[in-house]
Amino acid sequence: MIEVKDLHKSYGRHGKANALNGITFTVKKGEIFGVIGPDGAGKSSLFRILASLILPDSGTVTINGFEVIKDYQKIRQIIGYMPGRFSLYQDLSVEENLKFFATLFNTTIEENYYLIKDIYQQIEPFKNRRAGALSGGMKQKLALSCALIHKPEILILDEPTTGVDPVSRKEFWDMLDRLKEQGITILVSTAYMDEASRCDRIALILEGKFIGSNTPQGIIDDYSEILWSVIGGKMSTLLSVLRNHPKVKSSFAFGDKLHITVKEGLQTFDLKQYLLNKGFNNVCIDPIQPTIEDCFMALTS
């Protein structure tokens, strides 16, 4: 159980750069809580405070009853932290890294092997290879094994899937699901909106503030806009033409489509006609269900 109350953190001499502006949330035992937001939103600062690596300016954090400022030594025993950048010893082998962190936590690989078995087995054939020579996905698995080796009650994973290929990303989330089954509370951050659905609850973070927090479905249910997708023609000109329409509230590119929100009363064929007049013949407009990213866009505008 993690309880965070009104957390503030600023950097720089006069506190000019605000990283966190009053963050409050609770993570229940045994759930996967995702903090989702773009780069520079304050995710890493938040996680570093939770991992007892930096001190907040104000606010309180309690992890399983321990206060993060006062009882940081106890906190370090019960959390497993995985920084965003691969931070294991590149010049030590896979096995040496794991053994090293096990020893620092006064435990052995054998003692908690059952916990990491699933993950570690996949990289065990390369256990004598130096960590620096592993592929991105394997590095991620090793880092997770090292974070788990002391049997933490809470895992704090800072952007674990950044820079990892889609297959490894999926595998990684499957592993988190299995860890969750073992009763481990997982706090994870990501910049990939599509990963939000893998969490039990998510919080959207922007400029050091949570702009929304709910279950992924709850966030989507709260979405009140009329959302259409638009396909056809030259994307960039289409985007600017749509933005000039008085009844279109917002429009963003989503891969090969455009997602637009419109004011009430506008019909799809009205817009189609409007675009036809502007010279777009093959336009396809459909009402669609919002994704987390649509919600994020709506919440930020």
Partner: protein, 378 residues
């Protein structure tokens, strides 16, 4: 206990997996002891001299030959006039000019005295000063030689009074370094230099490397005690320092036959205390730096101060007071002094105990600081 053993093991693994560092630890001392003592010497030799001989007599030629025969001088040219010689000096061909007047031999015979003119390029102050001293010696030698030869030309009465005149001759006796071999003086200094470089730079770059690689974050979230962590960082460098010391003592003996006339145990013991203090300094620098670039810049800056204000090249007694104050808290000073005492003066452990105590105090202060300045959270 198990943790510290494992941490040290990790440091050594990393050290030996780096292809350069183990080789450097062996090659560096050998190279320094092999090469530098020949090049870094304050003996002034091979001063180039022009002799302008207006006299062209047997006497003037004898004086010129005497200069040419000296190991300090190289006779560059014998130009016909002072102007040409001056041009030579301006173009850098010569360092000194001696002008022998045309009346040199006549005056010598008639008055038993004569003078020569000297001009010295003193851009390099030491060379200028020593050069003119050497010339003075040669000229004095020459004049006493002549005095003996010309004695019979004097009237009997003067001769008698001259023989009665007391004659003082200075007999120099060089203690501790009888051959006046500059190498013997410099090699103990080079050993200190080596320890400073290796045991100062390597630790300074160590923790900051963990910062750059992000591994420090992983260490900081473990329950490892910071004293244990810093000790595990320091101990490998103490061992490396001792290895470097053993290699340089052996190299000095094998290459130059230089062995401490004093206690060898005292040499190693004082080296260990010094290594402890200097590696503490390295760790402090590492703790305060965020990047390798900062750390290397800082460590170079401090090492330069330690070396230049440590009495290896220039005696501390001739420094201004503020520099002497720095030298007084500089571990380099104490070890250079101790090594020279042990190598040249044949001192015992008791003789250098004062220096050892000062080194010990510096070591405690620096290492305490190294532990305190390491923060497990920012």
């Amino acid at each position: 206990m198990k943790t510290i053993k494992f941490l040290i093991e990790k440091e050594f693994k990393q050290m030996f997996r780096n292809p350069l560092i183990p080789r450097m630890i062996v090659a560096y001392p050998i190279m320094v002891i092999l090469v530098f003592p020949w090049a870094i010497s304050f003996e002034i030799k091979n001063i180039k001299i022009d002799v302008v001989d207006h006299n062209k007599s047997t006497y003037s030629r004898r004086l010129t030959e005497k200069i040419e025969a000296s190991r300090y001088f190289i006779l560059n040219a014998t130009p016909p006039d002072y102007q040409t010689a001056m041009q030579n000096m301006e173009s850098g061909e010569t360092d000194m000019i001696m002008e022998i007047p045309s009346s040199f031999d006549k005056e010598l015979i008639k008055n038993r005295t004569s003078g020569v003119g000297m001009a010295v390029n003193s851009v390099n102050g030491t060379q200028g000063l020593l050069g003119s001293n050497y010339i003075m010696q040669i000229v004095n030698d020459f004049s006493s030689e002549l005095r003996g030869e010309l004695m019979h030309t004097l009237p009997l009465k003067t001769r008698a009074s001259m023989i009665k005149m007391p004659k003082i001759e200075i007999l120099q006796q060089y203690k501790f370094n009888p051959a006046l071999d500059y190498k013997n003086f410099m090699i103990p200094g080079f050993m200190v230099l080596l320890l400073t470089l290796i045991c100062g730079i390597l630790p300074a770059l160590n923790i900051v490397m963990e910062k750059e690689n992000g591994t420090i974050n992983q260490i900081n979230v473990t329950p490892v005690n910071r004293i244990v962590f810093i000790l595990a960082k320091l101990i490998p460098f103490w061992i490396v320092g001792l290895v470097v010391m053993i290699i340089s003592v052996s190299a000095a003996y094998l290459l130059y036959g230089l062995w401490p006339t004093g206690n060898i145990i005292a040499v190693l013991l004082s080296a260990i205390v010094f290594i402890i203090s200097i590696s503490g300094l390295g760790i402090i620098i590492s703790n305060y730096s965020e990047t390798m670039q900062q750390a290397s810049f800082l460590v170079m800056f401090f090492i330069l101060i330690l070396i230049l204000l440590g009495g290896m090249f220039t005696p501390i007694s001739s420094m201004p007071t503020w520099a002497q104050t720095i030298a007084y808290i500089n571990p380099f000073t104490y070890l250079t002094n101790t090594f020279r005492m042990l190598y040249l003066n044949g001192s015992s452990l008791a003789d250098v105990s004062g220096n050892l105590m000062n080194l010990g105090i510096i070591a405690v202060v620096l290492n305490g600081w190294a532990v305190i300045s390491y923060k497990k959270r920012g």
